[in-house]
Amino acid sequence: MAIEMTGPATMAAPAGAPRDVIGWLRENLFSSPLNSVLTLISFGLIVLVVPPLVRWGILNAVWTGGLERCKAVQGTGACWIFIAEKYRLILFGLYPFKEQWRPLLMTVVLIALLAASMNRAFWRPWLGLAWLLGYLAMGILMWGGIFGLAFEDTDKWGGLPLTLILSVNAIAFSFPLAIALALGRRSDLPVIRMICTGFIELVRGVPLISVLFMASLMIPLFLPAGVDINKLLRAQAGIILFTGAYVAEVIRGGLQALPKGQIEAADSLGLGYWQKTGFVVLPQALSLVIPPMVNSFIATFKDTSLVIIIGLFDLFGSARLAANDPAWRPFYVEGLLFVALIYFVSCFSLARYSRYVERLARQGDQR
């Protein structure tokens, strides 16, 4: 089996000559007996899988109308009417129907901030200020209680906004914790190193669901009687601690990749530990770890789907809620696929972005 050592990125160039279709086919699909067999097998797989999916998902599917049209095609075609009927419940959960413009607006603000933060040209101090103001605005939008907005408690939050809130907060708030842990793990002080290593390995050794169980069932026992933290905040705290341990390892990777000369240079300038760390080590290490950080964010974004196990209605949970309606229950799968599509689009575009940053960084190195 021939391994393409250059990787697919450079494949476009030689294959791009459209004048010779047969040549392209021979080059790319039938270059050797083994390749021909692989091509035929792949082709067989496509023929086996794609037509039934297209038939179910598109040709036989119903897009508009009522429940009876779905009942008519049940088993042979998809009922996308379910999505049309329930998309607001799936996207916004139990948030009061009339007020749903608020989580919608919050989602738009959050996505705009994320998009802006992805553009290197915007990496200026005012971006931090924009985030602060954005957080304030988002809090006002979601909770309300002032400016004539009705107060909506966190138990009504749900759907895509909740998923976004949980994952963005997880990354944002775990970041300082992660930096402290990563520095601690590489510290010269043995006890601090032990504590940080212990925490990181402990958290990385257990499943997120057990951390969420702990947040949901045990945290109330840790607090003095009468102190009551709401369920969402507890779950958020659990997710932050969990994410912190993983992000700490990512940052440690960046610290390790730093050339030793940098630290020696700082030492020779006579900088103290905090100066050395704050001005020399961290800025360089952090810019190295942006691509893996994006991957951590993707992982967290997907992981927040576990909160349904402790009874929060995130995007996935509210899809389940939508299928609680007995009449529509048979079309639960369509709801799951819709949610899967949202996750896929979000994560895939983030992953693309991460690749892009990585490539930029590599080009920067080559200069």
């Binding site: 138990d155 069932l217 109330p220 009687a225 009468g226 229950r329």
Partner: protein
């Protein structure tokens, strides 16, 4: 210095926290202060507690919450319904996330003791049953040897099921799933032969969830367990326990005394029956009241509000449980051959 600031904050928090580790005040005071009753209910069970599309909770358990709120706060609408899974319910009560749990929970010895709870009354006498597809041609639970049975986790149901099959020397294969959604999905898809839960739950499922309006499914005659369902509170607050307990008893006594949501206010003014006067806190000819309210730590019109909130027990039952197709049976008043019996409210 951000770092040392953070450290000081942690230290300060720890010191403050260690000093304030005092006991929680009596529940009634807390409820009054919050001006809302936090009532734990089922996430969705027809007849007991289910939210409609506008977010309004209906059902027997939800109405019990309203009656308690009416007694404690004077307003049946000051209830915050907290939907809880089977797994979360007792912890939520223990932790003070809710003031009372009214979530079709079975009263058992160990829950009453080891979980630190007090069950106050029985609001519904239930029992576990089985649902099967009609095409299986099964007429009795005794014929279920070797069956695959779908059951939701976190309930007494799992235990009763195993007990029943052990007692009858039969075998079964459980499919234990966390969420109602998946349990029903699996059962109606044909993953299991049998679905088991409380009879009320089966009736609700048959009516609301089964395909074809339930025509292809049936509930077997056997009832394999006793499931007395009722509200629960934390141990250690006797006054609150009494308030919940007598709020419910007032509803039962109201049915017995013929007091309804419609006539309760009239009767409170006009009734000459000493028992009714005593319950409703109406002053007698000499202007004296029964003192029930004072004994409970609320005002004398407490029972009027409880009955006004959702009606007497039979009204609540007829509105919520009867539409499921369940007759009163053992849930009738004692005077009509049932088990519902209120101690004298004097």
């Amino acid at each position: 210095m951000f770092r040392s600031g953070a450290i000081w904050a942690v230290a300060a928090l720890a010191v403050v926290g260690s000093v304030s580790a005092a006991y929680a005040g009596p529940t009634l005071d807390a409820v009054k202060k919050a001006d809302v009753l936090k009532c734990g209910v089922n996430t969705g069970l027809g007849g007991f507690s289910i939210a409609d599309s506008t977010g309004k909770w209906t059902g027997l358990d939800a109405d019990v919450c309203r009656a308690i709120a009416a007694v404690a706060l004077g307003d049946a609408n000051k209830v915050k319904f907290v939907p809880l899974s089977a797994q979360q319910r007792f912890t939520a009560l223990q932790n003070g996330e809710i003031d009372v749990l009214s979530r079709n929970s079975t009263w058992t010895l160990q829950r009453d003791t080891k979980l630190g709870l007090n069950f106050t009354n029985v609001t519904f006498y239930d029992g576990q049953g089985f649902m099967v597809p009609k095409k299986l041609n099964v007429k009795s639970a005794k014929e279920l040897n070797g069956a695959t049975i779908c059951v939701q986790t976190g309930t007494t149901t799992e235990l009763n099921l195993a007990d029943y099959f052990r007692a009858n020397s039969m075998q079964f294969k459980p499919v234990v799933i966390e969420q109602q959604q998946e349990v029903l999905g699996a059962f109606f898809a044909g993953r299991c032969d049998v679905y088991t839960t409380d009879r009320s739950g089966l009736a609700s499922t048959l009516k609301n969830d089964a395909p074809n309006g339930g025509a292809d499914y049936m509930v077997l005659p056997e009832i394999i367990s006793k499931e007395p369902l009722g509200p629960a509170v934390r141990q250690g607050d006797e006054q609150w326990t009494d308030i919940v307990k007598y709020s419910v008893y007032a509803l039962i006594q109201a049915e017995e005394s013929g007091i309804t949501q419609a006539n309760v206010e009239d009767l409170a003014k006009t009734s000459k029956d000493p028992a009714v006067q005593g319950l409703l806190g109406t002053p007698n000819a000499e202007g004296k009241t029964s003192g029930n309210g004072e004994a409970l730590g609320v005002d004398e019109a407490w029972a009027v509000r409880a009955i006004k909130a959702a009606g007497n027990y039979s009204e609540i039952y007829d509105r919520n449980i009867k539409p499921l197709g369940l007759e009163r049976g053992i849930n009738a008043l004692w005077s009509q051959g049932g088990l519902m019996y209120s101690p004298p409210l004097r």
